[in-house]
């Protein structure tokens, strides 16, 4: 309790407590501005990892902990680095020029494990000469933990999404 009050006090005058500060068990740790920034960068690297399949899928997989989990409506429950890398490699259109997963509104809160967050997602198919469309959209709900290598996603729940668009229903470009 005392540590939490101190964290609030120093944050109000612009000083930030160490992200390694000891917290009473069960109490959410205070996040520093760099923690927020790093967690946001983590979510962003997720999008690049999926859209480019960079590093043979490992850019995507390495935003998760080694035992990280992804739960989605389209992609089955996936756990662990190798399985997650296979997911990224399975994206047929992926390459360094491809953009598809647009994320915004990343809300982050401290938690006893580290942090939790929610982030909006809009998957947009946009290529010159082809009709643009929103393939699917919704939000991710995440659990983040701080590891010796930095913040990582421990669990990403992508079930709060709409129904994906069937590419066959798109009208051809005029």
């Amino acid at each position: 309790m005392r540590a939490t009050l101190m964290a609030v006090a120093v944050s109000l005058i612009g000083l930030t407590p160490s992200s390694h500060a000891q917290q009473p068990a069960g109490q959410p740790a205070t996040l520093t501005p760099m923690d927020y920034i790093e967690i946001r960068q983590l979510a962003i690297r997720y999008a690049y990892g999926l859209d480019t399949a960079a590093d043979n899928g490992y850019m995507y997989a390495d935003v998760f902990t080694p035992d990280g989990e992804f739960i989605g409506r389209q992609v089955p429950f996936t756990k662990g680095r190798e399985a997650l890398a296979r997911v990224a490699r399975s994206v047929r259109k992926a390459n360094q020029m491809y953009v598809r997963h647009f994320i915004t509104n990343h809300e982050i809160h401290p938690s006893p494990e580290g942090a939790v967050g929610k982030v909006y997602l809009m998957v947009v198919d946009v290529e010159e000469g082809q009709p643009s469309s929103i393939y699917i959209g919704g939000r991710y709900e995440d659990v983040y933990v701080k590891t010796p290598e930095g913040w990582r996603i421990k669990r990403r729940d992508a079930r709060n999404m709409g129904v994906p668009r069937n590419p066959a229903t798109l009208k051809p470009a005029q």
Partner: protein, 353 residues
């Protein structure tokens, strides 16, 4: 990890609407903690609005007791009115099908007397409505203009106004002097350094460059000077042709870039939506990538449509005036199949040896 201490964000060079250095110096500075908290406030606004959390109180609690949300259809002021507005919906009486609808990007924040002000782009998207697959951009988009106040409970909106997109394209005479534009400060290149860690201030300042770029390009503010101000004096910007078969876009130098942004579309125009700004340290200072969606928000009988999408690849340097873009390259989005087809077309067109 380096812990940020009491930090001052130098937003003077990127300030909006002709705010002069004297004004900025008289307002209390924002710390990185302030910046992050205000960004979180904006993110929570979208969730609270779309989920109608807490029976509308989720949205109302983001405002001061006398806080106000203003839009073209009216306004709500005070906790009870704000909660009631959130319950009945701002865009529609029906709650979004997947509780996700307001996508906000390009959030810029600057200190102001009494707290801070900010702007943020927004586009409303219909996802899964009536069980239809995929999603559609609605005809609603524009930007917010905000006033924030720091309360004992944290930063809150004092006022948020939604300004719908509106194009008032008034091409300026090329070469016209930029009124009020300050002479560009000599860009002092950062010394060559080993790859150093970036501080929280660095990340926030570099993010602000990308957002300010969008405002500068879309509004043509200050005769293109706002757009040009995010670049170094000798910056380069390269991109593909605007139309197939056309000439690639190549601009070198801040003046050439200012000329590119000379179309005055008015302060309500939004078109370049940036997201996914990835930033990493580099020997020059930093490198980054940013996703772009060019969205033409509905006007008159024309529905909302996506004009193009792709990503920027940037090099940033820290100058005496703050972080600036030294080089920017834009790449249209292309699937692996498209790249393969293009390569095959080129190979097929090449003369046989």
């Amino acid at each position: 990890m380096k812990q940020p201490t009491l930090a001052v964000l130098s937003l003077v060079a990127l300030s909006f609407a002709g705010a002069g250095e004297a004004h900025a110096q008289s307002t209390p500075p924002l710390t990185v903690q302030d910046q992050v908290e205000i960004q979180q406030l904006a993110a929570r606004f979208a969730f609270a609005l779309d989920t109608r959390a807490g029976d509308g109180n989720g949205l109302a609690d983001l405002f001061t007791a006398e806080g106000e949300l203003v839009g073209p259809r009216g306004s709500a002021k005070g906790h009870a009115d704000l909660a009631a507005l959130a319950r009945r919906g701002v865009v529609s009486a029906e709650r979004p099908a997947v509780d996700v609808s307001h996508f906000s990007m390009n959030h810029v924040i600057q200190p102001a007397a009494g707290g801070a002000t900010g702007k943020e782009y927004v586009v409303v998207v219909h996802l899964g409505e009536d069980a239809r697959p995929g999603g559609e951009f609605s005809n609603i988009g524009g930007h917010y203009e905000d006033a924030y106040i720091k309360t004992p409970a944290g930063w809150r909106f004092k006022r948020r106004e939604f300004i719908p997109n509106k194009s008032a394209a008034r091409p300026r005479q090329a070469g016209a002097a930029a009124p009020g534009a300050k002479p560009a400060a000599a860009a002092t290149p950062a010394p060559t350094l080993p790859v150093a860690s970036l501080t929280a201030e660095d990340f926030l300042a570099i993010r602000a460059l990308a957002s300010t770029y969008a405002y500068g390009l879309d509004t043509g503010a200050d005769n293109g000077a706002l757009y040009a101000s995010v670049f170094t004096e000798d910056a380069e910007f390269h991109g593909p042709p605007a139309v197939p078969g056309g000439k690639p876009f190549d601009a070198k130098g801040r003046e050439a870039l200012r000329q590119f942004a000379l179309v005055d579309r008015g302060s309500a125009y939004v078109r370049h939506f940036m997201s996914n700004h990835l930033i990493e340290p580099s020997p020059e200072g930093a490198r980054g990538k940013v996703y772009l969606l060019v969205i033409d928000i509905a006007e008159g009988d024309r529905p909302t449509s996506v004009n193009m999408g792709g990503h920027y690849e940037d090099v940033y340097v820290k100058t005496a005036a703050g972080w600036r873009i030294k080089s920017r390259n834009f790449f249209r989005s292309k699937s692996a199949q498209t790249l393969k087809a293009e390569a095959e077309a080129v190979a097929g067109a090449a003369p046989a040896k």
